[in-house]
Amino acid sequence: MLDFFINFVGAIGKKFINFISNIGHFFTFFANTIYWMFRPPWYFKKIFQQIIDIGYFSLPVVGLTTFFSGMVLALQTYNGFTEFNSETTVARVVLTSITRELGPVLTGLMVAGRIGAKMAAEIATMRVTEQIDALGTLGTRPMQYLIAPKIIASLVCIPLLVLIGNTIGILGGYVIAIYKLNFNPNLYLYSTMEYLQLIDIIQGTVKAVVFGLIISMVSCYFGFNATKGAEGVGFATTSSVVISSVMILTSTYIITALFFG
């Protein structure tokens, strides 16, 4: 019985130490990446390729998600506020929800699924096939050549994607309000512009930058530290998406609380 208890406590202790050790490794990786991001050489071709991949090719999925979210939001809000002054309320709720929360979070989650998984799988495959080792022996630092371009491109693209997603989401709400709910277009647009706050845009952009950092850092970290062949690539990919998503949802609360709490 005592042996069982000791083993049980030992197993928990081991897991806890591993957890703390992994957090330490992650922050070392984070600090290393930031250090190498600001040191030459900068691989502009790689950065440009990543910008196209992360920014341009994520546009359809981000656009569709936010457009339909805006539409759903307009419909749901109208159903809930039909007894009140729904024309201004719907515009206000759609605008505030999209710019403060749904735009950044949905964009973040979509990019985590599409780009985070791709980054983790790509880097993990390079790790388990010794390509990263080979890079180091060919006069190139993997942190600068592989990781830094992905982080820089994410920090550039995700805020832009959020701004575009916000606009498309508001447009989705507008389409439903005008063509299905028969609102007055001028009044709806006027209400939207009236309630548009600079602080909401700033908060959304801050969230986008933080999400960009989370997605790229977490994905690169899991990819870079992958082991055990194909199984390791799968583990890195799944972990990067799950942990990025959880961190996005956690950090969105913290940022919202800091701005409006």
Binding site: L138, G139, T140
Partner: protein
Amino acid sequence: MKNKLEKKIIIKVTDLFKSFNNNVVLKNINFQLLEGESLAIIGESGSGKSVLLKNIIGLLLPDKGSIEINNVEMVNLPRNLKEKILLDLGITFQHGALFDSLKIWENIIFKVANKEKMNVKQGKQLALSIIKQLGLQPDILDLYPSEISGGMQKRVAIARAICGNPKILLFDEPTSGLDPVTGSLIDKLIKTAVRTVGGSAITITHDMASVCRIADKVLLIDKQTISWSGTPEEMFKSANPKIQEFIKPINSEIFFK
């Protein structure tokens, strides 16, 4: 003996120990690679040959011991200095380790292109001049590694290693998975690279025919340490049971006639 003493020591490994999670992989490893020498390291799968190579190039840190390349101690050397030394080395990995996202010609000239600016035409010409020596066709230059066979990938990896004429060549199983004709071609190339450039090479291999063709000296890693060393000729006369196991499948006379 006198000639050997006069030769410069290129790589010197002294009392090297390496273990993973209390599992000892290498212990008390001592050897030297001399200028112009081609050294073959043999041993069973899992005997630690690739681990030894990774210790030499700094991808793994030994638990104990010293590794000198051109009289510079590599263990605990600052990263930037280590990188400078590694630039003088041509290395192939066991599975090729070609970059999937780059074309064949970009893979081959990767290191040289990092050092000096060159346009696409110059880069392709340089890559072409190297793959010709390896019996590869020019039309593969614009393909990606996934579009060529495993044997071709292996040869491209060797092309990448010898591009820029490095003085120290380290090959991890360069002929495994290749047909005998191509294997023989690679061996010839390794020998030529050592003789013409005045370089030195360490080749990890299971291919005893290859050992006979390329090696000036052979090391056997067994039971985590170097259990035998000598020339290929001495190897065929050796009574060491492990050496006997290695040479049994081949007829030595074929190679020495």
